[in-house]
């Protein structure tokens, strides 16, 4: 789960990371009032789950509260990579002497959380990695021992020559790691980490991703979920316990299993079609899920053809067949539907479909080819 910058700032601040004051505003007037309270000049930053908001014009400076109202007015409602900005963060501007990057991410290959730091902060860290790899130092944290103080101190000395700044940032890294672990995060980034002109180290920006599977332990972080800033269809899918990602093709796909779902999309493309979505109904046999899935797909106006590709394992073909029958009785489908059904309880499922006027195929390639043709 992505959380907003202001939420990540809250988590970090709760763990003792020095984060300058800041307020969330959902209207220009709120932004003006926040700027008034903060005093002096502020920065107004779009709160959206999308990268590159700066380039998109989602970050603006304001010298007065009137100016903050004006800038917030420009940013609120703006569309950044398809997502409408509904909130801004208003934070005081800082007197910046230098900018660094500090991030933690789970490294699959090393099977360890890995801390990355670079004195080249405030810019795109991928570019730093590409052009000056030595400017980045990486540290894999042994999960049995956690981040050790001397490791954080070593990163501090790598970042700053000034002993005071080095000490401050190493303490911040320790706290950032604690926040990361305590939140079930898989990513936490501070970019930039600044040193002010009077030598204070502060986290100016904050980005965190949370492991969905860990959310059950942290209702306070689950509560950060901002459904308004997500695709409404995807929100509904999650509520129905489906994994759904909307794309812009014409063949709607409903598959059990993520790997098979991706392979199905690939095959749609292979046969000249374009997948309208990724949709995994998972391993359950609940017919309600099938109904919810068909509902989601049928509401996508781009969809010209619907494809079911079900390989029964835990999922039982008869349950899926019942779901399809149930769903089509409730939804007035405007597009053709192609069904591939094999595996556990296949015969029963095929019979249920046949009894209700649906044909089922056994071969995946044949089904995909047919669905693509029907969508043209």
């Amino acid at each position: 789960m992505n959380i907003h910058e202001y939420q990540a700032r809250q988590i970090l601040s709760d763990h003792g990371v020095p984060v300058p004051a800041g307020e969330v505003a959902r209207t220009p007037d709120e932004a003006a009032a926040a700027a008034e309270r903060l005093g002096g000049s502020v920065v107004v930053k779009a709160q959206v789950h999308a990268g590159g908001r700066g380039k998109a014009g989602g970050v603006k400076l304001a010298k007065t509260s009137d100016e903050a109202r004006e800038k917030a007015g420009e940013i609120l409602g703006m569309d950044i990579k398809g997502i409408t900005v509904r909130a801004v963060l208003v934070a005081p501007t800082e007197d910046i002497a230098s900018e660094a990057y500090v991030g933690i991410v789970m490294d699959r290959a090393k099977q360890a959380d890995t801390i990355m730091v670079s004195a080249e902060g405030g810019v795109d860290i991928e570019e730093v990695a590409a052009t000056m790899p030595d400017a980045i130092r990486k540290l894999a944290v042994d999960p049995r021992y956690g981040l050790l103080n001397h490791q954080a101190a070593g990163l501090g000395h790598f970042l700053y020559d000034d002993p005071k700044a080095a000490r401050q940032v190493s303490s911040i890294i320790v706290k950032l790691y604690q926040a990361y672990r305590a939140s079930g995060a898989t990513l936490a980034e501070i970019n930039p980490m600044i040193v002010t002109s009077d030598g204070e180290v502060k986290a100016i920006d904050a980005k965190m991703n949370i492991d969905d599977n860990a959310l059950f332990r942290m209702p306070e972080i689950e509560a950060f979920r901002d459904v308004e800033s997500e695709n409404p269809a995807e929100v509904r899918a999650r509520e129905a316990e489906l994994t759904y990602i909307q794309l812009d093709g014409n063949v709607g796909c409903c598959v059990n299993g993520a790997g098979l779902a991706m392979a199905t999309m690939d095959l749609v493309k292979y046969y000249g079609g374009d997948p309208a979505n990724f949709l995994d109904i998972g391993g359950s046999s609940n017919p309600d899920k099938v109904v919810a899935a068909l509902q989601l797909i049928s509401e996508d106006p781009n969809v010209k053809s619907i494809l079911f590709n079900i390989f029964g394992g835990i999922t039982r073909c008869d349950d899926v067949a019942n779901g399809i029958v149930e769903a089509t009785s409730r939804i007035d489908l405007q597009v053709p539907i192609t069904i591939r059904l094999t595996g556990t309880n296949e015969e029963l499922g095929v019979k249920i479909l046949a009894d209700n006027g649906f044909e089922a195929m056994v071969d995946m390639d044949e089904a995909v080819k047919t669905a693509v043709e029907r969508g043209q």
Partner: protein, 289 residues
């Protein structure tokens, strides 16, 4: 015959009284797997299916029923505990079917399993099967066929699909292993490839990857350097949009975006037959065997 499991597998089912555990315990028994024990804390002393003793702990299942392999069907929040317990009890193979285990839990579990000298397969995997001999997990027994092609896969139902197509084409399997699709897993492609290379019953290997991570690239490198048997591969997710879960930092760490194109190129560069679609696996295997 097969890899990791076989005639000597004596299985304990952790979570045997649960919905999934009881269903699949029965399926495995029906397939011929020696299910020697079940574990459900607090239900020690009871019997499953009139035949399998239930214990409170895996340690009891090992000492009293001689279990050497464990399969785990407990809910996600208890899965890490279950893996710790199995490793601590001294089983040599642990297969964790459970989906949705927190990454932070797995971070702690993996070094523990390694230190205890056990092998973990999964989590979030369908398990493994040696056709005609033994199955541990949830792979449907009816789609496999005895033969000599090793199948290793990060997926669940996509694995079934490929096995199904192989079997329909008359190509049997020496063993099929689903290693799981989570970011942190106990057994990776290289582990399975090495086992297939050593297994005298395997003559070729089909490897099914996915987007994300770099395990396929590492495996490709391993194939080029250490394998004499032909390997063919498929990557799911060629049309997937850039991953939303793995941020920029992840790509810097791994030195890769984890795209299907990268992985397919790695396959090609290292002499692995690249299937554009699952059905191509069959042709490639026939060509190369």
């Amino acid at each position: 015959m097969g890899i990791f499991i076989g005639e000597n597998t004596k299985l304990v089912v952790q979570g045997i009284t649960g919905r999934d555990g009881s269903f699949h315990a029965q399926q495995m028994m029906d397939y011929g797997t020696q299910v020697v024990a079940g574990v459900t804390p607090g239900k020690g002393g009871q019997t499953f299916s009139d035949a399998v003793p239930i214990f409170n702990t895996v340690a009891d299942a090992v000492s009293e029923a001689g279990a050497n392999t464990s399969v785990i069907y407990v809910p996600a929040r208890f899965a890490a505990d279950a893996i710790f317990e199995a490793a601590d009890a001294g089983v040599s193979l642990i297969v964790c079917i459970t989906e949705g285990v927190p990454v932070g839990d797995m971070l702690r579990v993996l070094p523990y399993v390694r230190e205890k000298g056990a092998r973990l397969i999964g989590p979030n995997c369908p398990g493994l099967i040696v056709p005609g001999c033994c199955k541990v997990g949830i792979l449907p027994g009816q789609i496999v066929r005895e033969g000599s092609v090793g199948v290793v896969s990060r997926s669940g139902t996509l694995t079934y699909e490929v096995i199904f197509q192989l079997t329909r084409a008359g190509i049997g399997q020496s063993a099929c292993v689903g290693i799981g699709g989570d970011p942190l897993i106990g057994t990776n492609f290289v582990d399975c490839l090495a086992a297939f290379e050593e297994d005298p019953h395997t003559t070729a290997v089909a490897m099914l990857g996915e987007i994300g991570g770099t395990d396929e690239q590492t495996a490709a490198d391993y194939v080029a350097k250490h394998m004499s048997k032909p390997v063919v591969g498929f990557i799911a997710g060629q049309t997937a949009p850039p991953g939303r879960r793995m941020g920029h930092a992840g790509a810097i760490i791994s030195g890769s975006e984890g795209t299907a194109a990268e992985k397919m190129k790695a396959f090609e560069d290292h002499g692995i037959g690249v299937a554009k679609r699952p059905a191509d696996i069959v042709d490639l295997i026939l060509e190369r065997s």
